[in-house]
């Protein structure tokens, strides 16, 4: 199955999004959080993201969802460092809704392309 890595400046957000998405995705084992810095401070860490991607990969690829600013920049750095070791892409999607949609899609055994599409379509979800 396709793995999912949730990147946020806040480890609480990353862990919380993983919990929320997991609730919708049954026994899906591909969700990983890469939030905050090693010491719990607010920030993003390209090395932690890289490790989470390796850990989430079962061989079917990994999709990253990142929050604002350096979340995306650190994720891009991690992708570059992995240098093709894992088939990994960053979805251009809102992190909460995108993660839920992507987890539901991934746990159904969908392809990486389909998981990314599900995450990115979450942007169109209206609240009212």
């Amino acid at each position: 199955m396709v793995g999912l890595v949730i990147v946020s400046h806040s480890w609480k957000i990353a862990e919380g999004v993983v919990d929320l998405a997991q609730q919708m995705a049954g026994d899906y084992k591909g969700l990983r959080a890469a939030g905050g810095l090693e010491d719990g401070e607010i920030g993003t860490d390209a090395v932690r993201i890289m490790e989470a991607v390796r850990d989430a990969d079962e061989g079917d690829g990994v999709v990253i969802l990142a929050d604002l600013g350096s979340g995306v920049m650190s994720a891009e750095t991690a992708v570059e460092f992995l240098d093709g070791e894992v088939n990994v892409r960053i979805a251009d999607a809102p992190i909460v809704e995108g993660a839920v949609a992507a987890a539901v899609e991934a746990c159904a055994g969908s392809s990486m392309e389909e998981v990314i599409q599900a995450a990115e379509e979450a942007r169109e979800m209206r609240k009212q």
């Binding site: 090693e38 920030g43 390209a46 350096s70």
Partner: protein, 208 residues
């Protein structure tokens, strides 16, 4: 280049750490008030984790870049991390650096920052200090100036670059959320980049 790479990096770290509150205050005006805190945390980690006896400048800068990537936390982590790592590629296997090689390192660092930040000159970023500084450095070296004199001229241009960032609006990073309200404030990244160049110059001045 006279002196040792660890001592030069220690000087950069000391200057960044001394200016922690100043950089954070600048960032409070137009950003998320963490630039100084983040950079200081990164350079404390560099001092702790990068071995002082590593004399291969390329390997030293690679380790420095990796450490900044994983400890700074904000966008300056991947930006400075990439800059040091790209400069390190130019210096791979070298224990000394010529004035020309230092120019190549500056160019590589700037290219790395541009790639990582998807920014160009004129967007109120560190590039507004670094690009004119590099251009002036290269011109001075071409005229036969030594590394310290060329860096002196480069630092002057970097300062002009900081002043220039006050006159323009930010289109990259957190400051871009402010739009026109970012005008009038100097860019924290351009400031830390200038402090870095000055630290290198001052180190070389007192060790050559």
């Amino acid at each position: 280049m006279a002196g040792k790479v660890y001592d030069c990096m220690k000087k950069i770290g000391d200057v960044i750490i001394e200016n922690k509150d100043f950089l954070t205050d600048l960032d409070r005006e137009i950003g998320d008030a963490d630039h100084g805190v983040n950079m200081a945390r990164g350079f404390h980690a560099v001092e702790e984790k990068v071995p002082a006896d590593l004399t291969d400048i390329g390997a030293f800068l690679k380790k420095t870049g990796m450490t900044l990537l994983s400890t700074v936390g904000g966008a300056s982590g991947p930006l400075y991390g990439t800059a040091y790592m790209e400069a390190g590629k130019v210096a791979a296997g070298k224990e000394t650096i010529t004035a020309d090689e230092f120019n190549e390192m500056l160019l590589a660092a700037i290219a790395g920052i541009q790639k990582r930040g998807k920014a160009v000159r004129g967007e109120k970023t560190m590039l507004d200090a670094l690009i004119p500084a590099q251009e002036t450095y290269a011109a001075k070296v071409a005229e036969g100036a030594g590394i310290v004199d060329a860096l002196d001229a480069a630092c002057e241009k970097a300062h002009e670059g900081i002043e220039f960032t006050k006159t323009i609006r930010a289109t990259k990073g957190r400051a871009s959320y402010l739009g026109d309200r970012s005008i009038g404030h100097q860019d924290p990244g351009a400031t830390s980049a200038t402090l870095t160049l000055e630290a290198i110059r001052d180190y070389l001045k007192s060790n050559s």
